[in-house]
């Protein structure tokens, strides 16, 4: 994937970010908007990618997000614990045109608080605002923010999205203030986004980047395999991880017989 292009891997901090949210709220679209902005050439999403990666510059630091999609395993509540392990950030997505999706988002936040690392930075994203706000870049009517959601057959749920024609404000089922109030109460970052127009998408990731305890991650992954998902970032854990895909020359103290 694109990560190999980076020449300064030593300076970038790897951050595992997990996506959560009801089916068809646009989880994959939000990520693809974020990821493809910097990789215009590679607009066609990689089907079956282990995870997408994207760099995010923040003053003197470069964060490299390793973004995990649910791969549909949330559909029957069968997400593996592995999904949450060592995630330093989560984006919980709901659809502003579907009230029940915010309720679902709240239950995902609870699940994160139960399963994930206690210091995880959680952002709540109310997606599909292009459907409720007049937006200059909204071009077609039939298309919605799902248009890019082909990354993962397992999560794409075509046909569930309300059409964009109609009276925009009447489609809104989740008032901004209500979601905002919930987010501040639960200590979450909050954004309204449109994967379709790009509104608010990059902001999610830069605001998360500002809130991530970078020094802490650097300290805990130093000397390890350098991958948040693999080497782990449990505080104080000794980092002696092995990257299976590396096959270094036999070390001198190894048996070569």
């Amino acid at each position: 994937m694109a990560e190999s292009a980076s020449g300064s891997a030593d300076k970038s901090v790897q951050v595992k970010l997990v996506l959560l949210g009801e089916a068809a709220v646009g989880k994959s679209s939000v990520v693809l908007r974020f990821v493809s902005n910097e990789f215009q050439a590679n607009k066609e999403p990689t089907i079956g990618a282990a995870f997408l990666t994207q760099k995010c510059r923040l003053e003197d630091r470069v964060l490299r997000y390793e973004i995990w999609d649910t791969a549909g395993q949330e559909r029957f509540h069968s997400l593996a614990p592995m999904y949450y392990r060592n995630a330093q950030a989560a984006v919980v997505v709901y659809d502003v045109t579907k009230a029940s999706s915010l309720e679902k988002a709240k239950s995902w936040v609870k699940e994160l608080q139960r399963q994930a690392n206690p210091n995880i930075v959680i952002a709540l994203a109310g997606n599909k605002v292009d459907l409720v706000l007049p937006s200059p870049s909204t071009s077609g009517t039939g298309s919605s923010s799902e248009s890019e959601d082909e990354a993962d057959d397992a999560t794409a749920t075509p046909g569930e999205t309300p059409g964009a024609d109609g009276q925009p404000e009447s489609l809104r089922q989740v008032p901004r203030e209500e979601a905002q109030a919930y987010a501040s109460e639960a200590g979450l970052l909050f954004f309204e986004t449109s994967a379709k127009t790009g509104e608010g998408v990059v902001e999610i990731f830069t605001e998360i980047a500002k809130k991530i305890p970078i020094e802490h991650i650097l300290a805990s992954t130093r000397g390890g395999a350098g991958r948040p998902g693999a080497a782990g970032a449990r505080p104080g854990a000794r980092q002696e991880g092995v990257n299976l895909e590396e096959n270094p020359a036999k070390s001198k103290d190894a048996c070569n017989c």
């Binding site: 282990a50 029957f76 999904y83 397992a154 092995v242 299976l244 590396e246 270094p248 017989c257």
Partner: protein
């Protein structure tokens, strides 16, 4: 109605690897487990989950076929009554394992992309218990060189053996006619190795579990372990983070999901209907067309929508009764066969004190010996402190222990992400012979006490008590007898090998075989994908090559 090509029941490592392979090969897979967690009999559990696992299986009264089968597999379970704080920070494996750095599992982890999901570390130490002490096992020629406990003559013999074991010994004169001789005898007779060195080689290098194990397979294991050494570090073995096998199973399941697989946990199969064959024959497409008729309809608990498929793969304990061979409706568990090895006794103990191996090569030291164990106080530093290790107790090495089986213990701590800081999990396993009387407690406690004796304590301290223990026994299934009489499109996945160093690779091999069986079952439904299958495994020639080139 949701239509898939294959329904897989059970998320054990074998089924999970197979699910990933089928899904990546272009088949639509629905992967279902009655348990709310991944991994089935190889799961990694929190302490709370382990207590629940034990309680469900030992409560006796089972109306559910799966729990009945589980109770037959785990006939004895006893566990500490109370769980521990930070329960979720423990990843306790039902199938503790060490993974050879070169072998089928590592190959399939890499080629399937699952390697990117999990974390691994090197096994720090392998120790062998002899005369009240645990000593590091010399695992390489260099270790042998450096070892000061071995006399020069013995070193030369040991070297000669290691060179032999790393070679293509199959046609050698040393081995001629001796492939079936017990390995320990072979070592003594052919390489003039003394008892203690033969014991180290047989039990701590080849991980033999009984003295009668034949020479050829043991030699082959040693060769593959010797070759695995140095790939990622000096140890030939890796330990998977978060409990190993259970976490690896999750990784394969994620790969299957990313390729389009459907995952449904915590639901039992209520009914399986077989569509009468004539209708499906009528609808059978000519080759090249997508398959539109399905042989089975599966109904799941609490799920209004039924699933359809053409091939069902199931672990033995989840196989729906209506798919079992029709002749005996109630399959009586077979009389215990007259082989001498039928079950594993297992102990899981959690402790909060670090352990040390005896510092070898320094003869006089602050050690005291007692009847059933000894404590060697490390003189200076944490040099000998262990976090991830295997300790082997050869037969008859421990007073009160087994005289016929080698007992293997594995210790994992924080550095394999399986415990909170300052806690360690001890796994002890022992093959049990027919006719053995006693409980897992009485059989394994001498070993647990010997291991607890490796923690540092002042002589006046009371002996260390584990914070939590679970003892259980696990019946080893007779080899794949379930396949007889099954519909050809119903496959029962073979149970994994129960042994520490063999689980991972043997499971990967079995999963590969199961995958090809599934492909040939799918072939009879004229799936277009069966032509030009891309398996997640490197082609056979590569794997064979590793064994044969020199």
């Amino acid at each position: 109605m949701e239509c898939v090509d294959v329904i897989i029941l059970g998320t054990g490592l074998t089924e999970s690897i197979t699910a990933a392979a089928l899904s990546k090969a272009g088949f639509k897979v629905a992967h279902i487990d009655v348990n709310p967690y991944y991994g089935s009999n190889e799961a990694s559990l929190s302490v709370d989950e382990l207590v629940q696992w034990a309680t469900e299986r030992s409560s006796g009264d089972h109306d559910d076929a799966y729990l009945q089968a589980q109770a037959a597999t785990f006939p004895y379970i006893s566990t500490s009554a109370s769980t521990l704080p930070q329960s979720r920070q423990y990843a306790i494996s039902l199938a503790p394992s060490i993974i050879p750095s070169i072998g089928p599992l590592i190959s399939s982890l890499i080629s399937s992309g699952v390697a990117r999901y999990g974390g691994y570390r090197l096994l720090e130490r392998v120790g062998i218990y002899e005369s009240g002490k645990v000593r590091d096992v010399p695992g390489s020629k260099e270790d042998v060189f450096k070892n000061k406990d071995i006399s020069l003559v013995d070193k030369r013999r040991l070297m000669r053996f290691l060179v032999f074991a790393a070679s293509e010994f199959e046609d050698s004169k040393e081995l001629a006619g001796k492939g079936d001789v017990p390995f320990v005898e072979f070592l003594r007779a052919t390489f003039s190795l003394k008892d203690n060195l033969a014991s180290v080689i047989a039990y701590a290098l080849a991980f033999c579990v009984v003295a009668s194990e034949p020479t050829l397979p043991a030699l082959r294991r040693i060769r593959s372990y010797l070759r695995a050494g140095g790939r990622y570090g000096s140890s030939p073995f890796l330990v998977g983070h978060y409990g190993g096998a259970g976490e690896i199973a999750q990784g394969f399941c994620r790969v299957a999901a990313v390729a389009g697989g459907i995952y449904i946990l915590g639901k039992r199969v209520m009914a399986v209907q077989t569509v009468p064959p004539n209708t499906s024959v009528d609808a059978q497409p000519t080759s090249g067309e997508p398959v539109t008729s399905f042989k089975y309809t599966v109904e799941l608990e609490d799920l209004p929508e039924k699933l359809s498929c053409n091939v069902i793969i199931s672990s033995a304990d989840l196989l729906p009764p209506e798919l079992r061979p029709s002749a005996p409706t109630h399959v009586e568990p077979p009389e215990l066969p007259v082989v001498d090895l039928t079950g594993m006794l297992r102990c899981i103990a959690i402790i909060d004190s670090p352990m040390y191996f005896a510092v070898s090569s320094q003869t006089p030291q602050g050690s005291r010996s007692e009847e059933d164990g000894s404590t060697s106080l490390p003189d200076d530093n944490s040099h000998g402190k262990i976090d991830t290790a295997v300790i082997v107790f050869p037969p008859a090495s421990l007073p009160g222990g087994s005289t016929s089986s080698s007992v293997q213990a594995m210790i994992t701590g924080e550095s394999s992400m399986s415990t909170p800081s300052g806690k360690w999990i001890i796994y002890i396993s022992m093959l049990c012979c027919v006719g053995t009387t006693g409980t897992p407690e009485t059989m394994l406690n001498p070993y647990l006490e010997a291991i607890l004796g490796l923690t540092v304590s002042a002589p006046t301290d009371p002996p260390l008590k584990p914070l939590f223990t679970t003892y259980y026994s696990q019946v080893l299934p007779a080899a794949d007898t379930l396949h007889d009489g099954l519909d050809p499109s119903v496959l029962v996945s073979p149970s994994p090998q129960p042994f520490l160093s063999e689980i991972s690779d043997s499971t990967a091999d079995k999963a590969e075989a199961l995958f090809w069986k599934a492909i040939s079952a799918l072939k009879s439904f004229h799936y277009p994908q069966v032509d030009g299958i891309e398996a997640i495994w490197p082609s056979d020639t590569v794997q064979e090559g590793e064994d044969q080139d020199e």
